[in-house]
Amino acid sequence: MAEVLVLVELDPTGSGVRKTTLEALTAARALGEPSAVVVGAPGSAAAAHDALAEYGAAKVYVAESEEIDSYLVAPKAEVLAQLVASVSPAAVVIPSSAEGKEVAGRLAVKTGSGFLTDVTEIAPDGTATQVAFAGATIVHSKVTVGTPIYTVRGNSVTPEPAPAAAAEEPVAVTLSDAAKLTRVVDRVVEQKSSRPELTEASIVVSGGRGVASAENFAIIEALADSLGAAVGASRAAVDSGYYPHTFQVGQTGKTVSPQLYIAVGISGAIQHRAGMQTSKTIVAINKDPEAPIFELADFGVVGDLNTVVPQATEQITARR
């Protein structure tokens, strides 16, 4: 069976792998037998092993070195290029984070290949599905040159277990000078939150201009917490200073595709729709019955968010 390389996105807290890795492993199985590629500090592969075995990695290439994490993007592309040359995989599949897309791009240049980013599905013949233009257009594309490289958009593939051997093979890491040009001096976490990562969460509750103040975002957070959800914000809310930019959902912010998206006090401009249109179920709460967000919503409540949201939070909490 054809071998497919899957770049592992390690859990930043060191407890294993991110969900995006399991999604990439699952998507890769359409093309062949996944081999996970761990590029990171010593001990990364050991922490990731069980998850990789459970989700179908027949092999695990272990490229561990103290210095890899000190440099941006380039070392991962270099390790993958080395593996592409030595094992001639049918394809390379990478989680579609900012870093993942950049790794894919650099790998494409190194190997003279084409690449497709933010794919939501990969068919056995290599055809990938992508969404374009704010989620309004669905595109089928194919890489026509070299070893196809795909980055898989978060939350578009449901991880499915498929136990495999996850046999580890060490890979010697010798970084070139070109891979060591950009130093990562520090990684700073500013918003420590017990909530799930916005792009990974299965439920997202977002607030917009209608929330009307930074203080009032507390009711959005309370609803999110009752559902175990991440909190998002529209550009209007961010620009008004109600919520930090990191949480912006939309064309110029994050793209989310959760099982459930609840838009509160958000009108639904194209700018916002671009970031959430592909969510499975969409719920809207807005006092304007004509708000465009209702065109997207599976369920909408026309009413004052200041009464509806706290009541919903209370009732959801009561059902738990």
Binding site: V109, T137, T307
Partner: protein
């Protein structure tokens, strides 16, 4: 300090956009063509650097004749001159091909720093700085929400989920910016008038030493097979809140097995 800003003309993301059914490329006539929004932040950052360190800001774009409007906008904001790579053979080029064209054009310019927006609103790949860094062998400082340059070293705060990474690299380097980095200036009347007299150099693929047969739709490294509009969502339920809106909402969530 010599600064090059990469600018891309895109269909306005605020209007309905589509692909062209004739060849599955971006339909540039379907919506107003504008400067990619995040590129304005890159231009602003370039102008700020020039004000602090002196030097010159050159705008570089690859695109059809209409992209001259994007150049004009950048010049009216205060950039000094521009290079416009325009060639019919480029139509339908993929990202790796476009990066080869930009890299060749940068090879003819003198630069200490190259700045681009972190993402275009049409393709949304967010990879061009990485591709160029790879091709040019220069450091990549992408996704910046803050940039400082001092003593030949560029330092960037790379925006991440919930924080940032502090990056550092020697010049020359390529930086990309998010819209958190600054507040772009509006072109002044004086700026708009002055832009009309600023030099714009047009280059073809031949001028860059690139064989047109290696670029464009026919030889692109990936191809769009087909596209379709997203199927319309079924009619949703919309209820007015008459004191029971929250209860109906929670019932709906329960029916979807969410609560």
């Amino acid at each position: 300090m010599n600064i090059v800003v990469l600018v891309k003309q895109v269909p306005d993301s605020g209007s309905e956009r589509s692909l062209d059914p004739a060849d599955n490329t971006v339909a540039r006539g379907s919506a107003d063509n504008v400067v990619n929004e995040i590129d304005e932040y890159a231009i602003e950052e370039a102008l700020t650097l020039k004000e602090a360190h002196g030097g010159e800001v050159t705008v570089l774009t690859v695109g059809p004749d209409s992209a001259a409007d994007a150049i004009r906008k950048a010049l009216s904001m205060g950039a000094d001159k521009a290079v416009h790579v325009v060639d019919d053979a480029i139509h339908g080029a993929c990202a790796p091909q476009t990066s080869a064209i930009l890299a060749a054009a940068l090879g003819q310019l003198e630069y200490d720093i190259v700045i681009s927006g972190a993402e275009s609103t049409d393709g949304q790949l967010s990879v061009m700085p990485a591709l160029l860094a790879e091709r040019l062998g220069i450091p990549q400082l992408s996704g910046a929400r803050k940039l400082t340059v001092e003593g030949g070293v560029a330092r960037v705060e790379r925006q991440t989920d919930g924080g940032y990474w502090a990056l550092e690299a020697p010049l020359p380097a390529i930086v990309s910016t998010w819209d958190t980095i600054n507040e772009p200036r509006y072109p002044s009347f004086k700026g708009i008038m002055a832009a009309k007299k600023k030099p714009v150099t047009k280059l073809t693929l031949a001028d860059l030493g690139i064989d047109p047969a290696t670029v464009g739709l026919a030889t692109a490294t990936s191809q769009v097979l087909d596209f379709a509009g997203r199927p319309p969502k079924g009619e949703g339920v919309k209820v007015p809140d008459e004191g029971d809106g929250a209860a109906k909402l929670v019932d709906y969530l329960a029916s979807q097995k969410i609560v």
